[in-house]
Assembly symmetry: C2
Homo-oligomer: 490 residues x 2
């Protein structure tokens, strides 16, 4: 453990990149902008998927799978969608390789050119609505409540592991409804599902709100979002839920006959979260020693390490740990007992600390004698000597406490770094320090653009739940209906 | 239900295609060769995934995720691999679109050409071994036991839903080992996992064996497979497990230091099953009325339909069905009660029959009076009147019986359609009738090719478990070490 890592204070960005490697979560591949998600990182993503998937099903959704490729012409069917998405995509133009004549390897077969190029999906509204067209005739076919777990590709120029990669994994819900009201309700419901997941599993407080028109999803009438605050004070958009109006129904001519037989365009939503949540999770809780995981998402919730000199001591500790393993298994707690003889306890302590295992149990000969074990918490880095009797129960409570503590800590951090501000001069001075700034805005795209240009800060959302008072725009002095959240963002 | 569907006897291929639509499993998309897996079909695939994933984890594997794209040059690194795979692939050549100047839509931006083309993965050995190179230094880093759930693309010219599609979903295991013996053991273990899954969940008997050299995976030293027999007597390769020797380690220079510090190339396996299993499942059990599902993979195991004239009758039946729902839930049996007033019982009966729901419960006023319910089995299409008391227990046993019956039926079918044959003349006459033919073969690729050319039959496998006796090749009369399995195949 002699390697020196950057601390958050020294270099936040370097700290993040090193942490992703150090905790063995992911790495860059040789393919520009594409990452390899390593087993430990993927295990966390699998937990996220499992919990979200259950919530989607509980709210009436089914999974399905649509093609990876989208015909180029589909992208231009919805006018504002193409502007927002069509540009930076992976384009498939050929369908065959052949051996190079000089024997140097393979080359693209020029005779195998596609008539119409295919785009690797950056999002699936177009291909899905092209299918829905055939699925929907009458109000009886509605609602359609479908989710897809998939990989998508957006050709990003500057990439960062999990936060911004050319290929990423996500889920995208795509629903079709008979009424506007029902679609809006759906978009709101799914935002609530995301917020609940963020707070109760990721231990990450989020602001719920709506995007301004300029920050909306390309093709949406309304974009709802959850915004989280990272430890450097920057905002991270953790999930979005879009009310798409009838835009895609019109683009793909999807109409249904209502009970009176009248033909109407269908109403739509889409909503998604991605492996970006991994970045959010890391940056919300981790510290200079490595990853810190909320117990609800930790692949290993408890790790135990024996400290011994003799084989007899090890055998006695093994027996105790088997007892503990059984107890924790009954409680549904994931437990790893690491008695690998090739590694020393100090190495193991550092390893599991880097990997963010919430609770560490250590037991040495003296603990054994006294019927005790040493329990270390990853979140607070405190240790306690605890009776072995009743340890399972103690750990179960401790895991709950850690989960709560992480959320509270993040809440406090966010509160401390959220301020109301009324002077644009002050805003310009303060914005680089990070945090959320609640400020009045005149509601125009011009003012929003000016702030962005002058400070790189954007309106993260128009929050739902603030006690909104009227005021004057901090930039123009024009009337404002309420404060919005400005921040620099990932 | 007035639509007339093709029967298996009339047109097996049409029957299959119609069934996939009729049971709402999947459909063709507008993208050539790519399918849409609809929610009901995907729910079956999800069950398959869940069971297999559990088995992979129980045998020590972890999931991870590697890039969708493979640099073109990687494919030529393993010589025989490129011959087997590199040809029919989706090739990404550009990374940006732009608006057409005439406003007609989007066009590929010619300035955004990739320096090296990217191939959409047809399988991931190359990209994964390129990563393993950095992960493996010493014997301590071995074994690596990783699986990936992913989409892959092989540009097939003639496609059929589930059986052969340009894009399909699969899992691919990729393991790295210190010794040849360990790698061979791994390949055999995973074949056993597949065979167990096929027989005990899909209720589909499979032959285990190895491929001949000409039928081997491109880059493998040995390809093990499970082969199933469809109802038209054709063989379907349901899963493969490859011992890759040191081929990919050599291609990507992956060496490890053994305990003595000596550098050695790493040994490898890969193994996979895909959404093709959906095709196998359909064709093993289904009948002219639609899908037949083994209970272990049925998204809905039991459906209940009320038959009533009055609201009072419905209310009374609803109450009974709620009781049943609770009972079945406790038993872990998935149950749907369909009391939708917009559909008539006859429509529902046909619908759930098409969809292969294993058990149907119907209850009318007279059943209610007598404390009975009508139970219909999908597999045998038999009905019984059963006491409502104890119905949960009855159904639980019935589901087990159906699972067993489907496997037995398929076993009997396979036995009846498997024959030993010694005359090539007779073989040529009989092969079109379908079935497995156990014949002696001289072990040469020439003879294998001749049979394939003259009859379109291939050697499906050299079976593991037959009581092999020596003999003479049915084609050339040369010595044979044992019988191999010839068949026409999907």
């Amino acid at each position: 453990m002699s390697q020196k890592y950057a601390t958050r204070a020294e270099d936040y960005s370097k700290w993040y990149n090193e942490l992703v490697y150090r905790a063995d979560l992911a790495e860059h591949s040789d393919v520009r902008g594409c990452m390899v998600i390593k087993p430990y990182g993927y295990a966390i993503w699998e937990k996220m998927k499992e919990i979200l998937d259950k919530k989607f099903k509980e709210t009436g959704h089914s999974n399905a799978y649509f093609p990876l490729f989208i015909p180029k012409s589909y992208l231009s069917k919805e006018a504002s969608h193409v502007d927002g998405f069509a540009k930076e995509c992976a384009v498939v133009t050929h369908y065959r390789l052949k051996n190079a004549e000089d024997g140097s390897g393979v080359i693209v077969d020029p005779t195998a050119k596609l008539e119409e190029e295919l785009i690797v999906r950056p999002t699936s509204e177009t291909i899905i609505w092209n299918s829905y067209k055939n699925w929907i005739q009458s109000y009886r076919d509605l609602p359609i409540l479908i989710n897809q777990w998939a990989n998508v590709v957006r050709w990003e120029m500057r990439t960062r592991l999990f936060l911004r990669t050319a290929e990423f994994l996500w889920q995208e819900g795509h629903t079709a409804h008979a009424t506007k009201e029902e679609a809006i309700k759906e978009a709101e419901l799914m935002l609530d599902v995301y917020a609940d997941f963020a707070e109760n599993y990721m231990a990450m407080p989020v602001l719920k709100g709506r995007k301004t028109a300029s920050e909306r999803f390309a093709g949406a009438d309304d974009t709802l979002c959850i915004e989280a605050m990272m430890q450097d004070g920057k905002a991270l958009q953790a999930g979005t839920s879009h009310f798409l109006g009838q835009n895609f129904a019109k683009a793909f001519e999807v109409k249904f006959a209502d009970k009176e037989g009248k033909l109407e365009y269908v109403w739509a939503t889409s909503w998604g979260v991605s492996t970006r949540l991994m970045g959010a999770l890391i940056m919300t809780h981790s510290d200079d020693e490595g990853l810190v995981l909320p117990p609800a998402l930790a692949p290993i919730q408890v790790v135990a390490v024996p400290i011994h000199r003799t084989d007899e001591e090890l055998a006695a500790i093994n027996a105790k740990m088997n007892e503990l393993a059984e107890d924790l298994k009954r409680r549904g707690i994931s437990f790893k007992y690491d008695n690998d003889e090739n590694r020393r306890p100090g190495w193991k302590f550092a390893e599991y600390e880097s990997k963010g295992v919430p609770v560490r149990v250590a037991m040495g000969p003296r603990d054994l004698e006294n019927g005790k074990a040493e329990i270390a918490r990853r979140d607070t880095k405190t240790k306690e000597i605890v009776d072995f009797n009743g340890l399972g129960n103690y750990i179960e409570n401790l895991l709950n406490e850690i989960q709560d503590n992480l959320l509270n800590k993040a809440m406090v951090f966010r509160t401390e770094n959220t301020r109301t501000i009324d002077s644009y001069e002050e805003f310009k001075k303060e914005i680089d320090k990070g945090g959320f700034f609640l400020a009045h805005w005149d509601g125009t795209a011009e003012t929003e653009a000016k702030v962005k240009e002058e400070t790189q800060a954007t309106i993260r959302c128009i929050p739902f739940d603030s006690n909104q008072e009227e005021g004057k725009c901090m930039v123009t002095g024009k009337p404002s209906k309420g404060r919005v959240v400005f921040a620099k963002a990932y």
